[in-house]
Symmetry: D2
Subunit: 416 residues, 4 copies
Amino acid sequence: MSTFGTLFRVTTYGESHCQSVGCIVDGVPPGLALSESDVQVQLRRRRPGQSNLTTPRNEEDLVHLQSGTENGVTLGTPIGLFVQNKDQRPHDYSETDLYPRPSHADWTYLEKYGIKASSGGGRSSARETIGRVAAGAIAEKYLHDAYGIEIVAFVSSVGKIHVPSSPPSTSPQTSGPADDADEAEDVLSQEFRDLLHTITREQVDQHTTRCPHPETAEKWSRSSTRLPIRIIRAKEASDSIGGTITCVIRGAPTGLGEPVFDKFEATLAHAMLSIPATKSFEIGSGFKGTEVPGSKHNDMFVKKEGGGLTTVTNWSGGIQGGITNGQDIYFRVGFKSPATISQAQATAQYDGTPGFLAARGRHDPCVVPRAVPIVEAMAAIVLLDQILIQNSRKAAATLLPRITTLPPSMVIPPRD
Amino acid sequence: MSTFGTLFRVTTYGESHCQSVGCIVDGVPPGLALSESDVQVQLRRRRPGQSNLTTPRNEEDLVHLQSGTENGVTLGTPIGLFVQNKDQRPHDYSETDLYPRPSHADWTYLEKYGIKASSGGGRSSARETIGRVAAGAIAEKYLHDAYGIEIVAFVSSVGKIHVPSSPPSTSPQTSGPADDADEAEDVLSQEFRDLLHTITREQVDQHTTRCPHPETAEKWSRSSTRLPIRIIRAKEASDSIGGTITCVIRGAPTGLGEPVFDKFEATLAHAMLSIPATKSFEIGSGFKGTEVPGSKHNDMFVKKEGGGLTTVTNWSGGIQGGITNGQDIYFRVGFKSPATISQAQATAQYDGTPGFLAARGRHDPCVVPRAVPIVEAMAAIVLLDQILIQNSRKAAATLLPRITTLPPSMVIPPRD
Amino acid sequence: MSTFGTLFRVTTYGESHCQSVGCIVDGVPPGLALSESDVQVQLRRRRPGQSNLTTPRNEEDLVHLQSGTENGVTLGTPIGLFVQNKDQRPHDYSETDLYPRPSHADWTYLEKYGIKASSGGGRSSARETIGRVAAGAIAEKYLHDAYGIEIVAFVSSVGKIHVPSSPPSTSPQTSGPADDADEAEDVLSQEFRDLLHTITREQVDQHTTRCPHPETAEKWSRSSTRLPIRIIRAKEASDSIGGTITCVIRGAPTGLGEPVFDKFEATLAHAMLSIPATKSFEIGSGFKGTEVPGSKHNDMFVKKEGGGLTTVTNWSGGIQGGITNGQDIYFRVGFKSPATISQAQATAQYDGTPGFLAARGRHDPCVVPRAVPIVEAMAAIVLLDQILIQNSRKAAATLLPRITTLPPSMVIPPRD
Amino acid sequence: MSTFGTLFRVTTYGESHCQSVGCIVDGVPPGLALSESDVQVQLRRRRPGQSNLTTPRNEEDLVHLQSGTENGVTLGTPIGLFVQNKDQRPHDYSETDLYPRPSHADWTYLEKYGIKASSGGGRSSARETIGRVAAGAIAEKYLHDAYGIEIVAFVSSVGKIHVPSSPPSTSPQTSGPADDADEAEDVLSQEFRDLLHTITREQVDQHTTRCPHPETAEKWSRSSTRLPIRIIRAKEASDSIGGTITCVIRGAPTGLGEPVFDKFEATLAHAMLSIPATKSFEIGSGFKGTEVPGSKHNDMFVKKEGGGLTTVTNWSGGIQGGITNGQDIYFRVGFKSPATISQAQATAQYDGTPGFLAARGRHDPCVVPRAVPIVEAMAAIVLLDQILIQNSRKAAATLLPRITTLPPSMVIPPRD
């Protein structure tokens, strides 16, 4: 349904052409400095009309906080907020009255509810994500102020053009069945790992595609306009193209994630796959990690400065056994090519009559640049919820009298 | 935590070396014929010791239903069940007392709880999945009896050896930057799509690796033993190897999935990523679908025999806008290489002292064959829960007086 | 937290002096005719300033539906709605800055959150209930249209003045220890049972106190003003007085309530005790039923016209074993006397300094007349949620093949 | 359904005549010393057959912990536990095959599920409460060890015989309309308040009826047998009688309870009304508090030794605005007279045929003495869950930088 989270809980509402879209954010820690501008900055990054790469429907998307703060500080009570839908034009989509858009939600919504919003995508519209982004911005504010946590997402591929992440091949693909050989190289190149460890939102936003890798951005760009050619090409072909977003969370504490069903990566995958148009998710080494032997894939432990352990490598993506280990958490989300395109498609009407549908109106040829703050928002929501739950456990354990008779194998006391 | 689901709800308990492992299954539809053998069949498929490919720890894993049925029929009340842990040997893992296993849950559990089970993997053990498989078998029984739904998972890759799924390349990879070209071919080959549409569990179980593709199984096998050489090789190297499991659900009704946060694929991803050792998930075209233009990726509609619509292709994997469309639902889950290996690894003790750890005991060099029924179980649990929720909505809508004044764009009445 | 319900789910926001108060209503059945006036009618009944019995703060409380409907019909998607807070005067409660109001939430909110709204009651204000009433009105619209269910609440006591509900005493209280005697009389008088069975909202609203019993209303009233003297007296004394509300649900189907923790009366009690100022709840015979022997208290079965069974009496209040039996569901909720009074009270400041607090401003001397629609709303929310859950189970059971071999004791087939 | 709680979560299973009854307790704080005897002590108090007042069905009810502890300490993972059903006699209740017991759950279970357990009360049996009591004992162990919290319940009435709680009447009920007079006296007598503040389980258990008030216990007793005559009388009449249980929680921290829907008393009422046979709940002054003017009912604040505030009186029952204030939390729960009695009742068969039912077998004439540990258990479960949630918030708030610019009315800093 439209509520997500246990202790930090977001509930959203709103279709594409109704009065407003918004959400209620419950469980916000009290005493947090928060103003509308903290939310607006991420809504602005989500907005369409930022360049000629995205749909020119020019909404201002100004957020209005309704409750839960006073004098710029959170009260701990629910924060209601909304953004007006300014673009409520009368219904003019005559062809989509007859045709469900292929691979869009028109037909499945009708199957599910027996009724559907008459204009636009209804609840499956991208405007639905405004509530998520706003809630995520609130979560992020807390994560930053209390923990110094940084969450940065960026576009890691458009179509077949990927930010390079594999290490240079040491063994040229020569004789012998390659699929029978052990994977000798690392999962990710040192350069990509450095990118994950240092990337900032400012760097991400320097290019309109939100790709922080100079060579790839260059490859995507025409020298004069510096626009990504892959997206331009899709647009010119009245077509669309998908892509992937990689996201990194830096500074998360250890111990987050609730076995066995709410492992950190499980709730993260839930959150990411709930974003419109997503179809895939991988964390750490992901699918590639299925091909690397354990001896190569395992992240060896080493003493950490300041106490405790850390790992030498981080193919696990910061999570082991469903629980964070203090390393960078990184994951990748795949967005399919947008379903609404303006070239004619041979499909069928709602009643089965075959025909051709060419979507009118203006549509994003590629959504991944705009989806960057949405991925960040959902990551922040998951992270804060898991922190609140784990904090509760730690506080509870701290209050108990210490049991001194446990065997070392259960508690691993300091040894000298 | 250890509960999953809304109306069909599973709660599990149990560590690797405690008295028993089990679960409580709540929300089972009343009036379902159910006996222990319905559950046992899937537990048997999950069991280790089925061949020399998996750990020889020979448990019988007999399930004991405790409640919720009478005369072989469900009462609608919770079903408690358990399987004894017969292999409760005294703690003898002296080295894992000193060393957290790299990429295993030993250290993160300690960070999370401040205490951990002294022997074995505790709650992160594969034995935890017994409860899931049992609950899934109950869900499946209902899905089969009420809807004729079939759920079949199989091993689609071990290491780098994949069941071929790409169509034959029509354009030989020649001139021009390949990453700049539109993806002209189909996402999946016709052969693989046929496999998805027809595969049965009997076929899957014909090979010990649960790979139903003859050529790949052949490739994996030594002629004499018919054992998969990739796994044998890992075992002989005291190493381990990962793989992927592909699963298909056939016969699911339309309309399942709860926007916006509990989209069908979102809850499915949640369920799959909660299985130990999983790191990645994709549904339908998945990551490959990010590279295919919308015009090629869209599943065109066509009239369905018997009424309604269906799609010509099914790159969406049976889900559009987070809601099932009646097509086959197929998805792929990646399992990393098992962390516990018996070759020596240069790592650190809990207190940071560097050293070498070589895991004693017997460990699976590859878990994917055994994980097949676990994937099926979690799929069944998600599916039944979503069916119950959607049934509720449909029943509610049916009771309302029909509104006859709605514009066609909202309801799409039959047209002639 | 601020979300209530499983399939029909309400989330509210809003303090007394913030921008607006409102809610998101998720899980509304699709295809329901719904307009703002359906909601407004109950908000109007909740409003203060309806007479000189309640606080004259004259809000208009106009509801604004934001989403989830189109052309006056629900889409099945969440309904966002809000009511402006028009009375956002600058903070002028100087004394309540120093003094936490005795028996109000000022001090406990500060203990809980470490911070509190500076003016008015914050989230503990009666304005919080606007979201509940709006959500309840939506639930009621469905319950009425789909089931013909009627929910009517009324004031059954103010202070010590109760609508008479006991039967006339047959045995004059004479010799012998009365507490040792069996309760010979009925739990409720025939007159009161008739009232429960026939009372309408129109009858309830005929008197400003929402007491539908003519004699009691008369007793409460001054001949000239027809105002309830008990409330007038409290007002004139700068004091306050509590009361009880009795509510009846007529027409609910059998089978509602989810054992063992979400029995119908358990969720109903949860809902009622979440209303501000409530301290007690009883269903059916309630506390009086603890004094009546089983032989007298049991509701005997009898054949029902049209099939099935019903009960001769209904001391159970329509619920047996936590599950509705088709009879009228009736219950009573106790509201303590309002905490905010304008007479001086000897209490302490936040820092412990003793002193006197006399609340300024205008305050309800008695909240029960205004609380009538709040009780109805929470009852409707509980009822619809339970109906949706039970409908899901029934739909699931219906799809199973009928098992013909069950013993009669499990299914009770028709006998001739 | 059969799961209760958010962070401390109990899921139960089991019918009266199945293999076993039990539960899974999730969210137990790690590092808690816990053994089976901690649980057994409360199960023993719940057992029937403790005296000739209760049913002689002599179960031993030995609990078997299955998981979640090692070396007598909790691991933080779920605790599975069960108690064998030893009394699984073949079905012999021929009359209850034909007749649904009046005011029992037989008929409503059949209406709900379309099927029912053939023998005994199925899931509505008192044996269902074993899981609750076991889970509550675990919660209590934590509450005791970490907070020193004490929870004590006792029987406060049987039939019409009540432990006296009203203060002595100062004004003899003479002239004038009593219902028009302000309530001049206190809500509870000083003696009863002292009882609440000091009562121990040892004192409660000194009498078989678990009534700690000597005069009342005396009144209930025959000199020779010291058995409560009211219960004996019911038994001899083949009848049954209800009663009330009062419970006090001492030592709970301030700030517990989650507005607006999960106020402390709301979740407590939910928990209590989920216990079989309960029909009413009141906290603090309860229904009597509706009759007392605010000036009399308000609990005035006073400086607390050691800092902070407390209240002079405690008519609120330790909760204000839905949040605990550190005072004793006390509440009362009403249990109706048991439905199963052995005298003949004129009722109808399942098919509507009129006839007489006299329940065979042995049945409790009064359940309240045995229900004492059940009330304590549910109170402990609610309390621990709320503590865990509030601890999470406090921990979250503590990590934020302190905002120094807030007006005093929001934070009330110390004043001199």
